[in-house]
């Protein structure tokens, strides 16, 4: 079973929920898909044993063959190529590696080279098989790193996916193929607004989902009213407590700190298992 943990708004507690569920069920595979800002390993402490680079293909122009006709730059939807007088400029960070430029080149002057944009790292912690992706600083495209990371999924295992914030392409790519999605929110106007956006995403993708309310007590009850009205199950409420904030700030997972929390997150997992079976 694949469970992804998403939120819309950033900083609501996705990583808290994802890491604690993984720790509570013991044997699991964990993928931190927030390749721009991966934080799960701050709580899981996996020793990274393997690293592999993620690269994308970018065009290389053979100056001998090229006659500067400009067809490649005309075709490129991403403005990654520009022909100026007797020169073809390639802007590698804009290239989506679609292959179009090489297809349209009448002189067969385009070949490909690999360009590293990030890496996938793997390690073990207790019984958790841990993976995260890292987009290199200054790079714009998270998707190739995400795709490389998601190829590591072992469908035979229980897989927990920590999803990046937002509602656009990296979120869709992370959630794709999940059996269930947990949406983490906080009981504030910002939390509710972004929760509604996240609900649209998972409904659009037809993935069953439930809500975890984090920092319960800090705001108002509009999130709960919304969930009741929309018949969305609230799986868990994590109270607003100084102790919890302090543990989080130190990188200590709740499930490692107390047996009760471990049980609570275990129950959330059991409930999801039942929901998915239905």
């Amino acid at each position: 079973m694949i469970i992804s943990v998403a939120s819309g708004k950033g900083g609501t507690g996705k990583t808290t929920v994802a890491t604690n569920i993984a720790l509570s069920i013991g044997k699991a595979q964990f993928l931190d898909c927030d390749v721009e800002e991966p934080n799960a390993n701050i709580f899981l402490h996996a020793k990274i044993k393997e690293r592999e680079d993620v690269s994308v293909s970018i065009p290389v122009i053979d100056k001998e063959k090229c006659d500067f006709c400009g067809k490649c730059s005309e075709f490129c939807a991403y403005n990654a190529l520009a022909v100026v007088r007797q020169k073809v400029l390639v802007f590698p960070e804009l290239c989506h590696s679609c292959g179009g430029c090489a297809l349209v080149c009448p002189k067969d002057a385009i070949t490909w080279k690999e360009r590293i944009v990030g890496r996938v790292e793997h390690g073990k912690t207790k019984d958790i098989d841990f993976y995260h992706g890292l987009l290199n600083v200054g790079e714009v495209q998270a998707i190739p790193v995400l795709k490389a990371l998601k190829r590591k999924i072992d469908r035979k295992m229980n897989v927990i996916i920590d999803v990046p914030p937002g509602t656009s392409c990296p979120v869709i790519e992370s959630i794709k193929g999940s059996d269930y999605c947990i949406l983490v929110t906080e009981p504030t106007p910002f939390g509710l607004h972004d929760l509604k956006l996240a609900v649209e995403v998972v409904r659009h993708m037809r993935i069953p989902f439930g809500i975890v309310i984090n920092r319960d007590g800090i705001g108002d009850n509009r999130v709960e009213v919304y969930c009741r009205k929309e018949h969305i199950p609230v799986l868990l409420k994590i109270p607003e407590r100084e102790k919890i904030a302090l543990l989080y700030s130190k990188g200590i997972a709740l499930a490692d700190e107390s047996h009760e929390w471990r049980e609570m997150f275990g129950l959330v997992f059991n409930r999801i298992q039942e929901e998915v079976k239905k």
Binding site: E37, C95, V137, S168, T188
Partner: protein
């Protein structure tokens, strides 16, 4: 998506001298970017506001803009397959690097990146690249000044491109209304929309908090600022939740020569103000508001010095 960093560069290199741009970012989400931006909006004398967190925009919940103008936003194009013309040769399916056309020649909309290779290889012209309605762009007026913002439709790409559109609108608004500052509420992360939100601005304010996660993310987002040679200052929000980590951030910034313009204590006034749809400054005159005022004055000084 990525396609727009260069466009962004182009439009911002010829920017007028007198107008300044400040972007509020954080790396990690939920550190308080939007609440702080809203507070700045209350304090700024002559500014335009831009919500560039187009994925999950929240600034409008506080600024409550009155929309003056709405425009469609077309991100990347999308393939449209005419099954009546299709001869099932499967060339499109084989050529698509994004696996966006399946074996039955059905388009998988979420995977299409609009490159146009399928339309090019189709021998019977059964595929056309058409405009894709990816969202809406707004020009608005708020009680503090003009605002540029947008909504990206669910499951759409091209948020970097949309950020660039919002920034251009903010720039035009500032020119029209003779405003001398643009305050940009940026998205979390370090990728495309973040880079599009910060390229070419005069200053970025990074809002962090004393948690190990936020510190890790601060370091990465500072790396991005350095990569694009943009000056950055830091605000430590919720500094009282872990004073040891707060000291660590202070040391780190000192070592790297980064100015800390504000240290805000953990204060639920921020949430209370949000619930009342007000900025913290409007809602309360307490310690937090005073701290934010001091921080704002420091930022104005830095912007002046950067001249």
């Amino acid at each position: 998506m990525a396609g727009d960093v260069r466009a962004c560069f182009q439009s911002y290199t010829r920017r007028g001298e007198e107008m300044k741009e400040l972007t509020v970012i954080s790396g990690k989400g939920g550190t308080g970017k939007t609440s702080i931006t809203a507070a700045f909006a209350t304090l700024a004398q002559n500014a335009v506001f831009a919500d560039c967190d187009v994925d999950a925009a929240d600034l409008h919940l506080i600024l409550k803009p009155k929309i003056k103008k709405t425009m469609n936003f077309h991100g990347l194009k999308i393939a449209s397959i005419d099954k009546n013309l299709c001869i099932d040769c499967k060339k499109c399916c084989e050529s698509c690097r994004f696996h966006a056309i399946d074996q039955n020649i059905n388009l998988i909309k979420e995977s299409c990146e609009g490159c146009g290779v399928c339309a090019y290889v189709c021998p019977v012209n059964a595929i056309k690249m058409i405009d894709r309605d990816s969202g809406f762009v707004y020009i608005s007026e708020t009680r503090f000044g003009p605002m540029a913002h947008a909504v990206l439709n669910t499951a759409e790409e091209a948020s970097g491109k949309l950020v660039t559109v919002v920034r251009n609108n903010a720039k035009h608004l500032a020119e029209d209304k003779q405003k001398d500052l643009i305050i940009i509420d940026g998205p979390p992360g370090i990728g495309c929309p973040v880079i599009a939100s910060m390229t070419g601005v005069d200053l970025v304010l990074i809002v962090t908090e004393p948690t190990l996660s936020a510190i890790h993310d601060l370091e990465r987002v500072l790396g991005v600022a350095q990569h694009f040679k943009i000056s950055a200052v830091v605000c430590i929000n919720k500094s009282s939740i872990n004073t040891e980590n707060t000291s660590k951030i202070e040391e780190y910034c000192k070592k790297n020569n980064i100015l800390i313009v504000g240290k805000l204590p953990y204060d639920t006034t921020i949430t209370q103000a949000m619930i009342h749809e007000q900025s913290v400054i409007e809602f309360s005159d307490g310690v937090l508001s005073q701290n934010i005022r001091d921080m704002w004055n420091k930022i104005l000084e830095v912007l002046k010095q950067n001249d």
